[in-house]
Symmetry: C2
Subunit: 471 residues, 2 copies
């Protein structure tokens, strides 16, 4: 016998099971609805790009880019790499297709040659879900809409059930502006050539204490202690947007250096407030936010889940990147967008769906339903054609229906299979009923059944489902 091949997915990747896929597809439908309600269109770009398209965009993370074998380029002479995110391909798309304005979303897989650590959710292949607005527009209008889209998207997912609300409902979006952070660092006395490295130290404040970050600045990065201490006062500022803005404006040196960016932030908060009453509970102006990627040029933000004021981690991020398209074509196109931490969100959605299934499992077995079959067609032993014929009638009417493939299963065994798969309704086609032109329709949870005319079956099924039989 031939030796068996190792039947496993590559390290850092995984198969997604039907139950998790059902949750994922339901979430994607909701997310897409929010995006489309804002007029966004959908585009698709290849999973791999020319290697040079991806180079010099991701700072230190460039080493995580996944290359295709160069042997593969013999016919085309191209060096190719798997995409690292959806933003750089989007900028390339705008340049390739000479787009002047677009509001688009894209749900697709991206690749990181990271050390796999699946238990900590670090994958080499995972989905991203991006929403971006490209075009030269008055300041902050598009930025404000992106923030509102993020909020509506999280709200839509949390609204699925009380369990979803509990796990996903308590989010907060930290907002800042890279121009203001740079100005702060300059005012504190950081030299220009150290701006980016000190910035990346500041970005660690959500995971490390100020003392540790200060150590990194002073010991590792050679910053003057007095400069570090001046930074502390600023980067600890966070909370209600307009109050933080007031605190910044109290510093006249700083105000002189970045008055325009401050005015922009005031405008941004005002526009979000116009679209969302109660904005201050969801937005926090957080000076410690810095964002790692090279390409941001203005407003930056990160959505985090909170529990009693404790940051449970990021579920989305984004910002303005006005120069990225300009790396591919003569005239740049300003862009602002967000990317959802969709794998993290999906883990929580699956957890919530499991809790919900458990709570509803008086009749079911408490597992998530992967199929959406509404009716199991059953018969006596052997009547395979009768099952198939009735099933086909239901399919033609748009009813999700199945029959058991095993000809010699008795009716009880067929019904057991319906229960196991959480199918709500059973349609029994028996010999006597066949003669009378009737079908026995049974609601499995209530165990109530009745004979209905075959010609009325679809309507009766619809009424049962409307009464909640499908839940």
């Amino acid at each position: 016998m031939a030796p068996k091949i190792s039947a496993k997915p590559p390290k850092g990747t995984r198969d997604i099971q039907p139950e998790a896929m059902a949750v994922r597809e339901h979430a994607f439908v909701n997310i897409k609805r929010v995006f489309r309600n804002h007029g966004a269109v959908s585009i698709d770009t290849p999973v791999f790009e020319l290697r040079e398209v991806l180079q010099n965009k991701y700072g230190e993370d460039s080493k995580l880019i996944y290359d295709l074998s160069d042997d593969m380029s013999s016919e085309t002479g191209e060096k190719l790499s798997l995409r690292y995110d959806l933003s750089v391909p989007f900028a390339r798309y705008i340049a390739t297709n000479n787009v002047a304005t677009i509001k688009r979303f894209h749900i697709g897989k991206v690749y990181r040659r990271d050390r796999p650590a699946m238990e900590r959710g670090r994958f080499r292949e995972f989905y991203q879900c991006d929403f971006d607005i490209a075009g030269a527009y008055p300041a902050m209008v598009a930025d404000a809409e992106v923030l509102v889209v993020m909020m509506e998207m999280f709200d839509a997912l949390a609204d699925t059930s009380e369990f979803h609300q509990k796990l996903l409902g308590n989010y907060c979006i930290k907002v800042s502006n890279r121009l203001i952070l740079d100005a702060i660092l300059k005012v504190c006395g950081v030299a220009d050539h150290k701006l980016r490295t000190i910035c990346s130290a500041v970005d660690k404040l959500d995971k490390m204490s100020w003392e540790q970050v200060r150590d990194e600045m002073v010991v590792e990065k050679g910053l003057d202690e007095a400069v570090a201490d001046r930074i502390e006062r600023f980067v600890k500022l966070h909370g209600e947007p307009l109050k933080v803005l007031d605190a910044l404006r109290a510093d006249s040196d700083l105000t002189q250096l970045c008055a325009d960016a401050m005015d922009d932030m005031e405008k941004l908060f005002g526009l979000v407030q116009v679209m969302r009453d109660g904005m201050p509970q969801r937005l926090s102006f957080d000076i410690s936010l810095a964002r790692g990627l090279d390409y941001y040029t203005g407003v930056i933000f990160e959505a985090v889940l909170m529990d009693r004021g404790i940051n449970l981690g990021s579920i989305g991020a984004g910002g303005r990147y006005d120069n990225l398209v300009g790396m591919f074509k003569k005239n740049s196109i300003p862009c602002v967008g967000c990317s959802l931490g969709i794998e993290r969100i999906m883990n929580l959605m699956v957890k919530a769906a499991e809790q919900q299934a458990k709570a509803n499992s008086k009749q079911g077995n408490g597992t998530i339903r992967a199929a959406c079959t509404q009716v199991m067609v059953v018969s006596q032993k052997g009547c395979m054609k009768e099952r198939m014929q009735l099933c086909a009638e239901l399919w033609r009417s748009g009813v999700a229906a199945e029959f058991c493939y095993n000809e010699n299963w008795n009716t009880g065994k067929q019904i057991t299979s319906a229960l196991k798969n959480m199918v709500p309704l059973v349609a029994f086609v028996g010999e006597d009923e066949l003669e009378r032109g009737e079908i026995v329709l049974k609601h499995l949870a209530s165990e109530q059944q009745r004979a209905v005319r075959r010609t009325d079956l679809v309507q009766e099924i619809q009424e049962e489902l409307d009464r909640g039989a499908g839940v």
Copy 2:
């Protein structure tokens, strides 16, 4: 200034534009509905697999497998390749996850290191759309359901409009059985070691004449002329399933060699007929069908578009592959499934959608609508906040709405932008109306407008859309 990077997608790949994506997503929703109505669940597997998983499955086409750079495997020691289809990963999934029975669909991208020939639709990256049933079941029941699913799927796409019907409605599914073709070749005198190569010559009969195929058999492949002539009589058999079956059964030598396979085919045609009246118009028993891939073991089929009896090309194919899972685990699991030629189908869907848009373009500009915005919120110059506030109200009520980002556009310019983007309704928020708590709702196609109470706006919009304003 830094040199610009070439802004193009890799050869053999392409960006999909918003209009084509709108058509594609609409088609995917319809296809998924058919699959789900049959109780299928959805799974996801990685875009790349261990190289050994893909090897020795695709016959001569194995050279088209796309490898990832081996440098990338330094941490994991794995050699990886992009998936060539969704069937082998599905078999690997069954083995990895110890699945005994599953009915699943999968829509995803696959990769071929083919010579790119985009104008002839030969891409290096394209979507496949698969539906498969795995499990040990009575003969032909699952095979029959797969054929019915294919028909329902094509029917659903063709039913979109008269234009879709014209381009996609006239399909036919050619069916055969590899066991019968092998038996025919044996009866005709083909030696066992030449079965596969003569089989692959037969498979070319949809593109070449019998004389050319005979030449390939005799001249290239050294087949005896008399043997070739015996084959001719059989491979020209095609058409109404039961008639072709009768013709085969008239040959007693052949019947002796593959009586079981013939009985299977009779059962298959009977079961399809049970689920679909008028089956004979859609199914053709075609002895010349051979299918290239190594892994098929029984029933094989190919869906083709026809025009006045002329074969316009394949739009889907599939068959039974009972031994593929056994290459990964001790006990094999029988499988049967189909894969849609989704890129070909999409080209026709886009063409049909363009024709439909043109026919409906008394008011519009005849291009496919990519966004689904229902209402453009407009105002006088400058009233940006009023636009945003009303838009936000609509979003909260689930209405797809947009506003123009340009603060100083006058009302006319905003309405022009609505017309250009084929948005059916305009909601005007003016200073006077604001005071009266009213909004002017205008239906752009009919140019009819009326003032409605702001609190009734959502309901009035819904009524306009129900009256067909969105079409």
